[in-house]
């Protein structure tokens, strides 16, 4: 029996969760205040994931850079692959929230989408 203590990051409450594992399998989750915490804890000990947020360069926009995010969580181990892939990306204004900037980033099956409105100059 292995016990792991986690801080839930699904919302700003930051619940202290204890996960009990046996042979890599989750046996029990305690300390969470909502189902999202349970879900987070199970995932965090087996396949941790994160939403990645960054920026890409913009051409012809009222701002020089656009904020972007992965539309869903991606595996934690893939964070830097995601960042590497968006590094050379340059997008043309106008841009709307939700526009797909990079489809299936770093082979994660998740799209990079715009998180800001940028008008063209």
């Amino acid at each position: 029996m292995e016990k792991r203590n986690l801080t839930c990051i699904r919302c700003p409450l930051g619940c202290q969760i204890t996960v009990t594992l046996e042979n890599g399998e989750v046996k029990d989750v305690t300390g969470n205040t909502c189902p999202r915490g349970d879900q987070y804890a199970r995932k965090e000990v087996t396949n941790p994931t994160r939403v990645v947020t960054s920026i890409v360069k913009v051409e012809g926009g009222v701002l020089p850079v656009l904020s972007v995010k992965t539309k869903d969580d991606v595996p934690k181990g893939k964070i830097f692959d995601v960042l590497d892939e968006i590094k050379p990306v340059v997008v043309k204004a106008p841009i709307h929230i939700g526009d797909v900037i990079v489809a299936d980033v770093a082979g994660t099956g998740v799209d990079i989408v715009a998180s800001k409105e940028i008008a063209a100059v």
């Binding site: 986690l6 801080t7 839930c8 990051i9 699904r10 919302c11 700003p12 930051g14 202290q16 994160r50 939403v51 990645v52 947020t53 960054s54 920026i55 360069k57 009222v62 701002l63 020089p64 850079v65 904020s67 995010k69 934690k76 964070i79 960042l83 929230i97 998180s115 800001k116 409105e117």
Partner: protein
């Protein structure tokens, strides 16, 4: 002089929510004034996710959260001005503005909502000794440079202070290729949210050194290094614990200060603890018809609470215009005082006009230290009326209690409500 029913000073999350609420309450003649070139305020540079769980039940980035409100304001035809600074607000609610195209213009408002936000505490306020080279930025300035302008302020960073912006910037700088060596925090606990420690520091093995501070800054032109030392309970450095870090950048995330210079010009009374206005149940200040909300009132941990509070302020400002403006008598009826003691640092609001109170009132506060397995106690005069267990309370996170009007009315001779932190 052009006149408006409600003028909202600031077009960030607080101003937007207040303007929308005032409009929805049926007051049409309103103006929102924003100094930057777009609405949304500081959210525009907060590109990380985690906003909106309470308000929209989904996890948004700062710009997306702001856009939801900007879209609503547009649908409701909220009138606003960009690139316009408010130079003065008088006690009589004459608002003086300035911008490039119109020069200086004065408006007469019936009600004013203060929503100017806050600023970061600078290095100077900490009295850190050493040189004053290039490469020392407040975390928010660095955030703007990286996320809005697309420039890197440095390659090798040390961060002082574990406020949320500092934690977020630790990750942002790491993402952009910088080497973030350490986050030092003078207090024995972090000033930021726990989730940010996990996903901004722990994920990238960036050490958080609690009870540590910067005691020397080196480099005459550009920063070349800092010395960090452990501090004792008196927050003074302990000799022999000094550690040197080579770095070209020091980011400071050491607290936020509500920006109340305009409020003071309007003779609004301030709290010495929050550095924001003292307000009553309507979020109205001592100056009749001037309301306050968001980080100008007290520094919040979550923007969701800012929106909630600002919605109340906007609604109350509209109600004031409709019901009380121009009336002889001020708020009638009984006034109840709210006090914060024993671990509770302050409350917002600090007074309640019982007749004017809605059915439910949220009272927000912060604690002064970390409390584990403690209780929030709410007393009506000397009688305990609420007793709620909290596994952990920390200064970095806001707490709240809900008061019900019928409870207050039912309690005979109620003069003071006291909020305290209790061991049992």
């Amino acid at each position: 002089m052009r006149s408006y029913d409600v003028i909202i000073v600031g077009g960030g999350p607080a101003g937007l929510a207040a303007a929308i609420a005032a409009k929805k309450e049926g007051v049409d003649n309103i103006l929102m004034i924003e100094r930057d070139d777009r609405l949304g305020g500081i959210l525009n540079q907060c590109i990380h996710n985690g906003f909106g769980l309470h308000t929209f039940k989904e996890e948004l980035t700062g710009p997306e959260y702001a856009q939801r409100f900007i879209d609503q304001a547009a649908e409701l035809n909220v009138e606003y001005k960009l690139n316009t600074i408010v130079v003065d607000i008088s006690k009589d609610k004459v608002v003086t503005t300035m911008n490039r195209n119109e020069g200086m213009v004065q408006y007469q408002a019936k009600a004013v909502v203060l929503a100017m936000g806050c600023r970061e505490r600078p290095r100077g306020a900490l009295n850190i000794p050493g040189y004053r080279p290039a490469g020392i930025y407040s975390a928010g300035t660095a955030q703007r440079l990286v996320n809005m302008e697309g420039y890197m302020p440095g390659k090798k960073c040390v961060i002082l202070g574990s406020g949320d912006i500092g934690l977020i910037m630790a990750r942002r700088m790491t993402f952009e290729g910088a080497d973030v060596q350490v986050v030092a925090e003078v207090m024995p606990y972090s000033g930021g949210l726990k989730r940010n420690i996990v996903q901004c520091l722990d994920d990238f093995d960036i050490p958080l050194k609690l009870s540590h501070t910067v005691i020397d800054i080196e480099g005459k032109d550009r920063l070349t290094g800092v010395t960090i030392a452990e501090v004792g309970p008196d927050r003074k450095p302990i000799p022999g614990t000094e550690e040197h870090y080579d770095c070209d950048t020091l980011l400071l995330s050491v607290g936020l200060i509500p920006e109340n210079e305009l409020s003071k010009q309007a003779e609004v009374e301030m709290s010495r603890i929050t550095n924001g206005p003292l307000v009553d149940e309507s979020l109205e200040t001592n100056v009749e018809g001037i309301f306050a909300c968001g980080n100008v009132l007290h520094v919040h941990d979550l923007v969701d609470y800012v929106s909630e509070e600002a919605t109340a302020a906007g609604k109350n400002a509209a109600k004031y215009v409709k019901d009380r403006y121009g009336a002889e008598a001020g708020k009638a009826g009984k006034v109840i005082e709210i006090k914060a003691v024993d671990g509770a640092r302050y409350t917002v609001p600090t007074t309640i006009h019982l007749d004017n109170m809605e059915d439910k009132l949220t009272v927000r506060f912060r604690v002064g230290a970390v409390f584990k397995n403690s209780y929030i106690g709410v007393y009506f005069n000397d009688e305990r009326k609420q007793h709620r267990k909290r596994p952990v309370m920390a200064p970095g996170e806001m707490e709240q209690i809900i008061l019900k009007k019928k409870d207050l009315e039912a309690f005979e001779g109620l003069e003071t409500i006291t909020v305290k932190i209790e061991a049992e």
